[in-house]
């Protein structure tokens, strides 16, 4: 062991420790921001460690420096610009895009090593070593390609660039995906047998597999898919670690892979969906439209914004239930104005956050935080549920399935067992909604039929703006 090796070893060890502490800290509200910075620091440390190692041993040529600088400047700059500019509502697709690029990076490294074997793999020509090399190259390409195309499809779907084509809901898609999977297996064995050209087959079919698996999944399940793909990109990184013989890469990749898997599991639980049904069940709406009788609404009460404002003015306690629709309408700032007026009138306002509210778990908290809603007003489901009976008015904004009483009452309902907010316990419930269309599950919402529920039809942002006007006319919030 010479000096550069020892220094690199120590730096790597430190980086792993800091990364682990970073992930750990990210799971607590208090420490999250520092933990994120700690992880970023650990990443820069690992780069310094690697470069100083090469400077101390083989040296780094000017030519290499040039290419390093070109790649890092372009990549970092684009990443930083996108991260600064992107609106908070498009967070899910942004994470998907970043994730896809990580997968692409692992794919390219493996591809590069496969086509132009680098010096250290030439030294050890024994069979076992080269076998491991080929296996890890294949895994890296396979997982990297799936991560890349899957993430890009996920992003396109969340952006609304891509809809769910009808044919992807047919049973035939499983057959097509199985063909892709078998083809990648064939390419894999062919590659191990020494047929280097089959690497391109592997690239193509695993890319297609990524598309084929992601395309049929409905928009509301996308967060789970992104989280899973995030776990994959960790696995791809670990595989790339085997390719270039880097323990740091293996540890960090494995850590992210495993942590991502846990997070995916946690998310699935919040949505009362199993991972298997998310991945292979297709879009939930397509499924339930056929399986459960959606039923007709018999007792819908609709009311004007004015009535809603009058009821709000007379209330003592108001609970807001924000959902996906609010995020899509980007109405979080308008909502904040409404609640400010109510608060100025001495009305207690609380936000009930369902674990999967918004476009991604936790996304709603970010959006409301952006609109300056005090943290103390955001209540998690378990905390807020006992409060509903003592509440005068509940405003449901663009949420649907998460307030469906069926999940508690009707054991035949596909939603049965999903944790929901018990808004029907409140005295009056206003549901602000574009029309009578069902939520993403495609299931009738029994809440809308209840006598204490009134529907206010319209776009969330427009209704809230009208509401501000009405409240102004009533003199609410003007002192």
């Amino acid at each position: 062991m010479n000096l550069p090796v020892i220094i690199k070893f120590i730096i790597d060890l430190l980086a792993v420790l800091l990364l682990a502490l970073g992930i750990k800290g990210l799971s607590k509200v208090k420490s999250a921001r520092d933990a994120n910075r700690l992880a970023a620091f650990a990443m820069s440390l690992s780069v310094i460690g690697l470069l100083s190692y090469y400077l101390g041993t083989s040296g780094v040529t000017i030519q290499s420096w040039i290419w390093i600088i070109i790649g890092s400047i372009i990549g970092s700059l684009l990443g930083a610009i996108l991260a600064k500019k992107v609106p908070m509502t498009s967070m899910p697709e942004t994470v998907a895009l970043f994730n896809g690029c990580g997968g692409m990076s692992s794919l390219l490294v493996a591809l590069g090593v496969a086509i132009f074997p680098i010096s250290n793999s030439l030294e050890n020509v024994d069979f076992f070593k080269s076998l491991i090399n080929e296996v890890s190259i294949s895994v890296s390409i396979f997982v990297g390609a799936i991560t890349f195309t899957g993430s890009i499809v996920a992003m396109a779907k969340l952006q609304g660039w891509l809809s769910t084509p009808g044919w992807t809901q047919s049973k035939g898609r499983h057959f097509v995906n199985i063909v892709f999977a078998v083809a990648s297996l064939i390419a894999f064995f062919d590659l191990i047998n020494g047929n280097t050209s089959s690497i391109w087959l592997l690239v193509v079919v695993s890319s297609l597999l990524g598309i084929g698996v992601t395309l049929p999944i409905g928009g509301a399940d996308m967060p789970v898919v992104i989280s899973l793909l995030n776990s994959y990109s960790g696995i791809a990184a670990a595989a790339a670690g085997f390719v270039v013989d880097s323990q740091l890469l293996i540890v960090a990749g494995a850590m992210v892979g495993a942590a991502g898997l846990i997070l995916t599991q946690v998310m699935c639980k919040g949505m009362n969906r199993s991972l298997v049904s998310v991945l292979f069940g297709g879009s939930l709406s397509a499924q339930s439209a056929t399986s459960s009788g959606s039923g007709e609404y018999t007792n819908i009460t609709s009311c004007s914004v004015e009535e809603c404002a009058l009821t709000l003015e007379a209330a003592n306690k108001v609970i807001i239930v924000p959902g996906y629709g609010l995020a899509v309408a980007q109405a979080q700032h308008t909502l904040r104005e409404v609640t400010k007026k109510l608060e100025q009138n001495g009305i207690e306002v609380v936000y009930a956050i369902h674990p999967v509210a918004g476009r991604m778990p936790g996304h709603m908290n970010v959006l409301l935080a952006e609109a300056d809603v005090p943290y103390e007003q955001l209540k998690e489901m378990d905390v807020v549920n006992p409060d509903f009976p003592a509440t005068d008015v509940v405003l449901v904004l663009g949420a649907n399935d998460v307030v469906n009483p069926q999940a508690k009452n009707d054991s035949s309902s596909p939603l049965y067992g999903m944790p929901v907010l018990d808004v029907q316990e409140a005295r009056t419930v206003f549901v602000i909604k574009r029309g009578m269309s069902a939520g993403y599950s495609g299931i009738k919402n029994d809440l809308f039929d209840l006598p204490n529920t009134s529907m206010v039809f319209g776009d969330a942002k427009k209704v809230l703006n009208d509401l501000i006007g009405e409240l102004k006319d009533l003199g609410v919030g003007e002192k």
């Binding site: 921001r33 930083a80 908070m88």
Partner: protein, 97 residues
């Protein structure tokens, strides 16, 4: 490093990852996902290795550089965007007026 010891590293790394996040409040799901995502851009080290060991092989240098670009896009963008999200959580608890 022998292959077997690398396998040990893989195993221990996975176990560590499984243990690290036990209970995460739903609030933090999105930031945690995006933070972990930034860390998965650690493949930048593999891309660097590729460039350093390319020994003047131009196609390899280009592949390495593109790969490095993709990885850093993931890392830098991921950390910045996570910080932006988390900044919002700390803001309202710190400057209450």
């Amino acid at each position: 490093m022998s292959f077997i010891s690398l396998l040990w590293v893989l195993l221990l790394g996975s176990l560590l990852g499984l243990e690290l996040i036990g209970k995460v409040p739903p609030t933090l799901h999105t930031p945690l996902m995006s933070g972990a995502n930034a860390i998965s851009g650690i493949t930048m080290l593999a891309a660097l290795t590729l460039i350093v060991k390319a020994e003047g092989n131009l196609p390899l240098l280009i592949i390495g550089s593109v790969s490095l670009g993709f990885a850093l896009f993931n890392v830098v963008g991921g950390f910045f965007v996570t910080d932006r999200m988390l900044a919002m959580f700390s803001r309202k608890s710190s400057n209450k007026k």
